[in-house]
């Protein structure tokens, strides 16, 4: 028996999400009295793979197969299922991101494994196997029993604390019986932003709403995000107006984020917006309307016009940084 965790890499490197996944899988393995095995697919150097051991993985399977060089959901599913069976995995952990969402449900059907999707906490219990998950777009949580022998858990990004250990993992070369004939997806073109902090990776997010009044007023938000090493985001009306790109839209139908700190500036806090940001650890709201619902979700608030408050806030951050 084991817990298998699929750790995606980005051009051969892991990121915090990978370590969150391994930390989570190791803790689940502890609950079950077993160990966590990490599966890496693609070209990742040994010194990078070793890092996964530092978060509790006992074994790392290094799987290189040309059929997996692009994301084809069928090929990935077949590969992970084969490894899971070889490893006698009773729990499979994957990220609740674009990659995870394209694989985990297929694995669920293939292995007849119940899926606990978008978990942010350890299972409530293992006998029966109960997970606690966000439902009704963050307006409630549910305790869900996973009734199958094998379980799949998809972990929300930025929701589980890293658990560093002095553990060292063994690295094994993996192999699977899949080939290129299985791959139906053809990638024609890739457009990637490089060198920019991704909104979903950011620990600090500075987000603006309709209260910013115009696309021309975004400079102080960008400056604040830059100063704090964060990313910028926006509410739906802002991306609909074209003031900011759609990739920055946080909210129910946009991106769901869970940073340590979320600045909601000129955002009233409609249910749909809160659905995407309520998992943030701290929310700071700046709004002219003292009755705006965003203040009910925020820990810290300033009632005032962003155009006047932001320059002062930026100065205050600079001063604090200088100390």
């Amino acid at each position: 028996m084991s817990v298998l965790v699929f750790t995606e890499n980005w051009d051969g490197k892991f990121k915090k999400l990978s370590f969150e996944l391994v930390s989570y899988a190791s803790k689940v393995a502890e609950m079950l009295g077993t160990t966590a095995t990490a599966l890496s697919i693609g070209n990742v150097a040994n010194d990078e793979l070793t890092k996964l051991g530092g978060y509790g993985a006992k074994k790392i399977i290094n799987l290189k197969n040309d059929a997996l060089s692009i994301l084809d959901s069928q090929a990935y599913t077949a590969a992970i299922a084969e490894i899971a069976q070889k490893e006698d995995a009773k729990v499979i952990v994957v990220a609740n991101n674009n990659m995870g969402k394209s694989i985990a449900p297929r694995l669920s059907v293939r292995l007849k494994a119940a899926i606990g999707s978008g978990v942010s906490k350890l299972p409530v219990s293992t006998e029966p196997f109960v997970v606690y998950k966000r439902v009704y777009s963050g307006n409630a949580f549910a305790n869900v029993v996973l009734k199958s022998e094998i379980k799949i858990l998809t972990l929300m990004q930025n929701s589980f604390d890293l658990a560093e250990t002095t553990n060292e993992a063994t690295i094994e070369e993996g192999s699977v019986s899949i080939d290129g004939a299985m791959v139906k997806t053809q990638v024609n073109d890739v457009q990637k932003q490089t060198g920019k902090l991704l909104l979903t990776d950011a620990e600090i997010v500075v987000s603006g709403g309709r209260g910013m009044k115009s696309a021309d007023n975004w400079a102080p938000l960008l400056e604040l995000a830059d100063l704090l090493g964060g990313a910028t985001a926006c509410s739906r009306p802002v991306s609909d107006e074209g003031w900011r790109p759609h990739e920055e839209h946080t909210g129910q139908t946009g991106k769901i984020v869970a940073p340590n700190l979320y600045f909601a500036i000129g955002i009233s806090g409609a249910t749909q917006h809160l659905a995407g940001v309520s998992a943030s650890k701290y929310i700071v709201a700046i709004n002219t309307d003292k009755d705006a619902p965003i203040f009910e979700a925020a820990q810290y608030g300033i009632v005032g016009d962003a155009a006047k408050v932001l320059p002062k806030l930026i100065e205050a951050v600079k001063e604090a940084k200088a100390k």
Binding site: W10, Q74, T77, M99, K101, S102, P105, R106, S108, V109, R110, K112, A113, A114, I115, G116, G118, R134, V135, Y136, S137, G138, N139, A140, F141, N143, K147, K184, T185, V187, N188, D189, V190, Q191, Q193, K196, H249, Q252, T253, L261, T271, K281, V284, A285, F295, A297, A298, Q299, Y300, G301, I302, V303, G304, V309, K312, L313, E315, V317, E319, A320
Partner: protein, 249 residues
């Protein structure tokens, strides 16, 4: 080409979520039901494709797994422009059950393209679409923000971490769509509402498939601490709190 759009019937997004029966059941009292927002975008895109003869899309069918109480939502999809509808007569317990039923419908009716929204706003699972594909052994593409057809070939845009990819898969396939697939959901016009009354909703009985999960109880979200207000003229105090109290900067 025949397109199937899977629709879920969900509480309106502004609903105050409450539970009954000792927090084991959703309290549907006074709730307004709507087409799940992502499914509505999927339907809109399917209809846009049908409007464009060059796409090769000839018909758009919607499918829903649920009881007759969901018929107003199905009628709304027909009013927006779907040609016909299928309802699988089952109150489903989980995504696995829903996907198994829809896969059965696809097997019988043979669609070329199956569209699903990336999640439903009630269970937020993001699972049904790709599950259907695995049941059928069809290719699936998730996080799809663009779909068109060029010379009979699907051209799909999918979101990846920090970017986009343009991909193709052969039909039949399942596309799991998200924001961007259509600009705004299409709204039913009066003519559509009239026509919807006579469009067919075929009711099929479910195939026996057990759910793999079961909700044992619901909980409200943890109440957040009351907001601490800082004077607009003194943001330095906010910075101080973020540094020393919250310890997040």
């Amino acid at each position: 080409m025949k397109v199937l759009v899977c629709i879920s019937n969900v509480p309106d997004t502004t609903t105050k979520v409450k539970f009954t029966d000792n927090n084991t059941k959703f309290d549907a009292n006074g709730v307004q039901w709507v087409i799940n927002p992502w499914d509505e975008l999927a339907l809109t895109r399917a209809l846009e494709l049908k409007d464009n003869a060059a796409s090769g899309v000839k018909s758009v069918t919607v499918v829903h797994v649920g009881l007759a109480t969901a018929e107003p939502t199905i009628r709304k999809a027909l009013a927006i422009g779907a040609d016909d509808a299928i309802r699988v007569n089952l109150e489903p317990s989980d995504a696995y059950q829903v996907a198994a039923q829809i896969a059965e419908v696809v097997k019988t009716e043979q669609y070329d393209v199956v569209l699903c929204g990336i999640e439903s706003s009630d269970f937020n699972g993001s699972t049904v679409g790709s599950m259907i594909a695995e049941f059928l052994q069809y290719p699936s593409v998730s996080a799809v923000s663009g779909l068109s057809f060029e010379n009979g070939q699907a051209v799909i845009t999918r979101e990846i971490d920090g970017g986009k990819e343009s991909v193709s898969v052969p039909t039949p396939f399942v596309a799991v769509v998200q924001k961007g697939i259509a600009k705004e959901p299409r709204i039913a016009a009066m003519r559509g509402i009239m026509q919807a009354r006579t469009k067919p909703i075929k009711v099929v009985e479910p195939v026996p498939v057990d759910a793999l999960t079961e909700v044992v109880s619901f909980e409200p979200p943890q109440p957040r601490a009351k907001c601490v207000f800082v004077d607009a003229d003194n943001p330095a105090q906010l910075v101080e709190l973020l540094q020393n109290e919250a310890k997040v900067i």
